[in-house]
């Protein structure tokens, strides 16, 4: 095994591997920074190039784009509240307030470091335990996935500040929007109004870009530009967290990594769920949850660690079982199959050079990203000094291009504009967009897994407590619900005059 690891690093550190790894992570970073332009669009563009490359090198480059995009995606969400990818919408919750307080440099620095730590720990786990994790992932089926999604939903109302009722209302709206599309089991189309663009449901990216990015830009129209742009030189010192801040982010980063690795390694859930859960868990266990949403540094550390570790962990089922967790992983698998390499249970033993070379390149890539991203922070912050009447139209332009590039559908541009308007109204009325997004992501997955679990059990609900893992999840869920009820009651009981938050 040691010789295999050495072999892998030897491959990853060879000149061609380094070069293509660098190209991959650089492209990834920039793709991540641009709102809406997903990593999938970028890897699709690079696919023809890989026909002519050695398969290992090709995978190193494509994978680099993928995890590089996760690094870059938090940039625009922190600076402008315009998330580069859906997962970065979570980073915006606390990252954007930090930028408004003039702490953008710090926020970007922390996300880079946490991304690095999260990614690196996930790679170590991947090196040591890939076969174990892969076989454990197989004991998760629809009953377990349904309960994980239910857990996520139980945490959903936690992720926003202000009124719990408004949050719950938004979760419900998100779940409702998730109903649109063809029902997998019956093939019946629901709420599509005969538009084929809606047969697969409303696309996620236009919703996220609309509610966060476009709404924010629309909101600024007529504003006097009251932001606090960071003026002067961005010194390295100003980006560095203080000793106290370092201490605050250690545990959230580790918790985020743990959540990201576990959820990310399951082929049926993915980085978005992991990121939301990491944030919610962090806020729930915090002694000062009221700081969240107002620039809490833990609020960016945990989700950033989670999404990067999830992205790395997603390679585990893809490489060791040949099972891709999402469209991007499916694409990478397809790119390997073009070279006649079919990942599966024997991939690790049959192709040690490729597996370890790839894993080794993740390390190299993460280091490159760290080196690439920290000097870039100053450049990104300079973006804020671009006059808004130039910057915002440019952002809108990129959002439209990005959303269009996913499926070449003009309809998606209409959607992003529509959700931008809805987001604007929600913003004015004090309804938070994050719970809506979470409800929308979890709803369709929950429904699918719930129905499938019942099909497997031929209609008996006992499937949810007959399987060992599902029992544990069910108990966790019950505990969480009871705890929430207790806090809700406690909040009602002692003070007969309830202090209203919000106006």
């Amino acid at each position: 095994m040691y010789s295999d690891i050495l072999l892998g690093f030897e491959r990853a550190l060879s000149m061609d591997a380094l070069l293509f790894c660098f190209i991959g992570v650089t492209v990834g970073t920039f793709v991540g920074v641009l709102p809406g332009v997903g990593a999938l669009a970028a890897v699709s563009l690079c696919l023809p190039l890989t026909y002519y490359l050695d398969p290992t090198i090709a995978m190193i480059m494509l994978a680099g784009i993928f995890y590089g995009a996760q690094y870059g995606s938090s940039t625009a969400s922190i600076l402008l509240n315009v998330p580069g990818t859906v997962t970065a919408a979570v980073t915006a919750l606390d990252g954007y307030p930090m930028a408004q307080q003039g702490r953008a440099g710090l926020a970007l620095f922390v996300t880079t470091i946490c991304s690095f730590v999260g990614g690196t720990i996930a790679i170590v786990l991947m090196m040591g335990f890939t076969p174990v994790i892969a076989s454990a992932a197989l004991s998760f089926s629809s009953a377990e996935y349904f309960l994980i999604m239910a857990l996520g939903l139980a945490l959903a109302s936690t992720i926003s500040t202000g009124s719990q009722f408004k949050s719950l209302a938004m979760v419900a709206l998100g779940l409702t929007l998730g109903l649109v599309g063809t029902d997998l089991n019956s093939g019946v189309s629901r709420f599509t109004f005969g538009r084929i663009e809606l047969y697969d449901g409303i696309s996620l990216v236009p919703i996220a870009m609309g509610l966060f990015g476009v709404a924010e830009i629309l909101n600024s129209i007529g504003g006097s530009g009251s932001r606090t742009p960071q003026t002067g030189k961005i010194s390295f010192r100003s980006m560095m967290p203080t000793r106290a801040e370092w201490r605050t982010i250690v545990k959230p980063t580790l918790r985020g990594t743990a959540i990201g690795t576990v959820i990310g390694a399951l082929p049926g859930s993915g980085a978005t769920v992991a990121t939301f859960m990491a944030y919610a868990v962090e806020k729930r266990q915090s002694k000062t949850p009221e700081r969240f949403g107002k620039g809490a540094i833990e609020g960016i550390a945990a989700p950033e660690a989670a999404n990067n570790s999830a992205v790395q962990a997603a390679f585990i089922p893809t490489l060791s079982l040949g099972i891709p967790g999402d469209a991007l992983m499916a694409f990478l698998l397809g790119a390997m199959m073009i070279h006649g390499i079919v990942p599966g249970p024997r991939f690790l033993t049959d192709q040690p050079e490729m597996f370890w070379g790839l894993v080794g390149s993740f390390w190299v890539g993460n280091v490159l990203l760290l080196v690439l991203n920290i000097p870039l922070i100053g450049v990104w912050i300079k973006m804020l000094s671009i006059p808004y009447n130039i910057l915002f139209p440019a952002m809108l332009f990129f959002i439209c291009i990005g959303v269009y590039s996913i499926d070449y559908q003009v309809f998606d541009i209409a959607l992003v504009v529509g959700f931008g308007l809805i987001g604007l109204v929600m913003n004015h009325l004090g309804y938070p967009p994050a719970p809506l997004l979470l409800g929308f992501i979890l709803g369709p997955m929950m429904e699918e897994h719930f129905k499938r679990a019942l099909l497997m059990s031929r209609g008996s609900f006992s499937i949810f407590w007959e399987r060992p893992i599902s029992v544990v999840l069910l108990l966790l869920l019950l505990a969480l619900v009871l705890m929430s009820l207790r806090t809700a009651l406690m909040a009602l009981l002692p003070t007969s005059k309830p202090k209203k938050d919000g106006k």
């Binding site: 992932a137 089926s141 063809t182 997998l184 084929i196 663009e197 891709p324 199959m337 079919v342 024997r346």
Partner: protein, 327 residues
């Protein structure tokens, strides 16, 4: 006198112009292609269809002297791409990677803005991917007889996985149940990946799926291949008998891919494209590239392809009816 000459000149010019337009429509193929061609793929980047599209596009670009660009327009069970091509100008500049869903399954199942087969001009059949009947290694079943016997013991004790209502894996299992007079529970999945997870774990018992991605699991024994749902054995798995060899009638449920143009595309354009595709598929380098990922060259010229489509349409409609898939 002068005015007459002008008149004559004007008339002559008009006739000349008319003549020009007439000749340009009648022999469109001579100048074809004079601009880039778009090959629309209804599936996402990275899959078999994408590989076929890109490999052929490269060769067509070389042969025709104009860039052939692949455009992935996935979604709505291929309806988005198919609608786009069905509505495009029938001039040979917009082509579709065709499959059973684009031509007959989706138009029946979904409320789409095109009719199906009649909206397309068949250009050529190009490739196929064999499907294999696999059961979970955990099921203890090792032969087709085992499977049929277990299924016959009691209806609905076994469950089969598919990638959605009316999908080829679904219809294959429906055909299987017809041929063996059994009944199993249908569990649809959003794609083959989650279906394989449950097959590996033994949560679902059997499925007909594309062979190439199943190969490592078959080799490791986690999945057991019981039969090939194609007319011939698969080169990747030569020891596994076809369903037909095992007495299940004409069990042909391969995933095929063709190239179709919008209906009304001039015949000479179709012929020219067909010839170019034929040349492409004769090349060893192309066969190799496709073969590496388990895609078989499966060329039929435009008239054979048209005949194939006609007979397939009836067969698929019958299966859809007996599968009782609702719109």
């Amino acid at each position: 006198m002068k005015s007459q000459t002008y008149l004559r000149m004007a008339a002559g010019a008009t006739f000349a112009l008319l003549g020009l337009t007439v000749t340009s429509t009648s022999s469109l193929a001579e100048g074809y292609p004079s601009q880039p061609i778009t090959l629309v793929n209804p599936y996402s980047a990275g899959g078999s269809a994408d590989l076929i599209a890109r490999t052929l596009a490269e060769s067509l670009t070389e042969q025709l002297g104009q860039p052939v660009v692949v455009e992935n327009r996935p979604g709505a069970a291929t309806a988005i791409a198919a609608t786009h091509v069905a509505r495009a100008d029938p001039d040979g500049y917009t082509l579709l990677i065709a499959s059973a869903p684009t031509h007959f399954i989706t138009p029946v199942l979904q409320d789409v803005q095109y009719k199906g087969l009649e909206d397309f001009a068949p250009v050529a059949m190009v490739a196929s991917v064999p499907n294999v009947l696999v059961v979970s290694g955990k099921s203890g079943m090792t032969s087709l007889e085992d499977l049929v016997a277990t299924a016959k013991q009691a209806p609905d004790t076994l469950a089969f996985a598919s990638v959605g209502n009316g999908s080829l894996p679904h219809l294959s299992s429906v055909l299987f149940m017809q041929e063996t007079d059994t009944h199993m529970v249908h569990i649809p999945y959003g794609g083959s990946a989650p279906a394989v997870v449950d097959l590996l774990a033994g949560n679902v018992d059997m499925a007909f799926l594309n062979l190439p991605p199943m190969l490592p699991h078959i080799e490791s024994g986690d999945l057991v291949a019981l039969g090939i749902a194609a007319p011939n054995r698969a080169p990747l798995l030569p020891d596994v008998a076809t369903m037909t060899e095992q007495g299940l009638g004409e069990f042909q449920m391969s995933t095929w891919y063709g190239i179709s143009a919008p209906a009304g595309t001039p015949d000479d354009v179709v012929t020219k494209l067909d010839a170019a595709l034929h040349t492409a598929l004769e090349q060893d380098s192309i066969k190799d590239r496709l073969g590496k990922s388990g895609v078989l060259e499966f060329y039929k010229d435009h008239s054979e392809y048209a005949a194939f489509l006609k007979s397939e349409a009836t067969r698929m409609l019958d299966l859809l009816t007996s599968a009782d898939v609702q719109n």
